[in-house]
Symmetry: C3
Subunit: 267 residues, 3 copies
């Protein structure tokens, strides 16, 4: 069921794009050691797929992943390979571009979280419109352990979505949140049983794609206009801070220690 789209101008290495009737599916499926990380190459593919869906007859985009990890966040190996300053610069440019693309995307995005959503993989969710999650999904931000500051506008969106007390605990302490908690807190629209998730979610997405594209797009604009400037500003500020922070000795040490610890990759 996951054929590459004929509309796609270039071959994707790390994502699968499927153009369906009146909507587009984007599946993260990276060829990296750590499953479904985001680095400049992967991000370029996602942005190209979104731009394609922006101008074709898609009424919405479904964003999901293949495998049992939704998204492991920023590619930490990338940040510690070669000159840390050059790596940070490239990663930050790419991150800024990805987040800006999500902020300004005019059609509804339905995120379907099949497993762990870590760091940027969690931060991206409030930039989507509807989030469906598998009962086994897990959500957390390991920013303090990595000695880094927030990314993906999470410093603005997570306290807003989860409340300040909970949002702060996630941002400061890396607290892990289950799918059920995420639903109760308002990050997730609905929780599904892992084995039957796609059979339930796909028909909903198909149904939603039948609604008036004009009405969906206008509704999204109405919902999003209030925070758009704030989100763009937050993205800029977070990116500038990460550009300074990622290459520091303190942060590089923390990233290497994190990558060395096997238990960070058992979800």
């Amino acid at each position: 069921t996951s054929v590459r789209s004929a509309e796609c101008a270039f071959r994707n290495k790390d994502i699968v794009v499927k153009k369906c009737q009146r909507y587009t599916q984007i599946w993260l499926n990276t060829q990296t050691r750590l499953k479904n990380v985001l680095n400049p190459q992967v991000i370029q593919e996602i942005v190209t797929a979104l731009n394609s869906a922006k101008y074709d007859d898609s009424n919405l985009v479904m964003f999901s992943s293949i495998g049992n990890v939704f998204c492991s966040g920023v590619d930490l190996n990338y940040l510690t390979t070669g000159d840390p300053k050059i790596a940070a610069r490239k990663m930050v440019d790419s991150l800024r571009f990805l987040v800006k693309t999500f902020i300004t995307f005019p059609k509804p995005i339905v995120a379907v979280v099949t497993g762990a959503a870590v760091g940027l993989g969690m931060a991206i969710l409030p930039l989507c419109d509807i989030t469906y999650a598998s009962d086994k999904a897990l959500f957390y931000l390991p920013y303090s352990t990595l000695s880094q500051t927030p990314e993906g506008c999470s410093s603005f969106t997570l306290p807003q979505v989860l409340g300040l007390a909970m949002g702060s605990e996630l941002l400061f302490c890396g607290r892990k949140v289950t799918a059920l908690e995420a639903h109760q807190l308002g990050l997730v629209s609905q929780v599904f049983w892992p084995t039957s998730m796609m059979q339930e979610v796909i028909p909903r997405v198909q149904q939603m794609a039948l609604f008036s594209g004009k009405a969906l797009e206008t509704t999204k604009l109405l919902i999003r206009c209030h925070n758009r400037t704030k989100l763009e500003l937050t993205n800029e500020t977070e990116c500038n801070l990460l550009l300074e922070r990622w290459p520091t000795a303190e942060c590089q040490r923390a990233i290497l220690a994190y990558l060395d610890d096997e238990k960070n990759f058992i979800y």
Copy 2:
């Protein structure tokens, strides 16, 4: 217990107004086929009753309904009768006026939701201050099915109240929410057993009406001042979009199909 108010300068056809000690009750009770809809005539009566309560010695207003439907939202029959452009113009003018009256009303409004709150009937709730709901109340926005865009500032208030993930699912997909869910999500202050609801709610409202009117009014001003401009702007934008959208062939077709479908009126 529902005598018409002596203070009322004109006779109400579609609402019942009762001036009680230090507060005013407004009960929706329309003589329409679809129970408790909002059209220019009903809205004029509500606004007049609110203006009366604004200047008399009422410390607050209780807003509820007679019958098992709290409010069915905008009168869809009205929108499809006669010239659609003229009907839309009149309905939009009236809607803008109602929402503005709620936004600027200086005294606390306690909404008591006895049954289904559909479309504008749900959208009006975050413009009230306290919302008590019967356990059998049901909340949803059939905007996508009607091919229309949001109304009553719901594009701003619902994502803010319910969280973006849930608010978007209501606005985009028309998801139905029970009283208990609405309470957990923060739309409803408290849920009551249908049969004893009024016996519990009325004493609370009476108790609240005994507090200092000056303190209540100042507190409401403090709470509301942060979003007032944003609400007024959202109301304007939503109304302008509906003025264009309601008369379109796509929307008129969707409204007629909605009115033809019996299951839309079983709550």
Copy 3:
């Protein structure tokens, strides 16, 4: 375990300050009839302790209380002693100063709520970053009973945190909220069993204090920058209103009646 800090330049009467490794503990422990109230003397001690923690090597502050009351709020006896206008002026100056200090404090504050958090004792929590609460904690704002308007930015923060429907019920009606409800609503990050609370909370605070101080401070700045101006403005407005309201005959009568009623002091 509660030795007075050697760094502290002056002896505290109503609080206990303990400088630990990389963080500071502040414990409310007032010598007043009503336990853990806030008056100009107590507030001065808290602000001095916070300023000390701001410039030493503390990465964060833990704010808690000794005894079974977290904080009874503003010292109502103070407001009704001597000339009400002079008392109100002194109390308001002090309140403005305390709230401003919390709003602008650059390092994370972890509030540990051991018992009842009443009025300002509850209002201060959304100005902290993480709130841990004992299962027996209770939260409410007796503002309507006292015929007074909100304080501590609660007119802005509580509707934001709890949702408008619930926030309004607390502010208008003095509704009491349990620790579990406060957690579900997003005011409290986590609830602990009273007897083992400190054994669980202290290690977490110690763990958090080991993270990069620079990253913690930058993260707090990112989270807080969006509302800082709004909070400062709200503080000013609320203080100006209380300066007028506290000395009124209506409010003085309500305060005395409140102090006379034994049941207001059984939590």
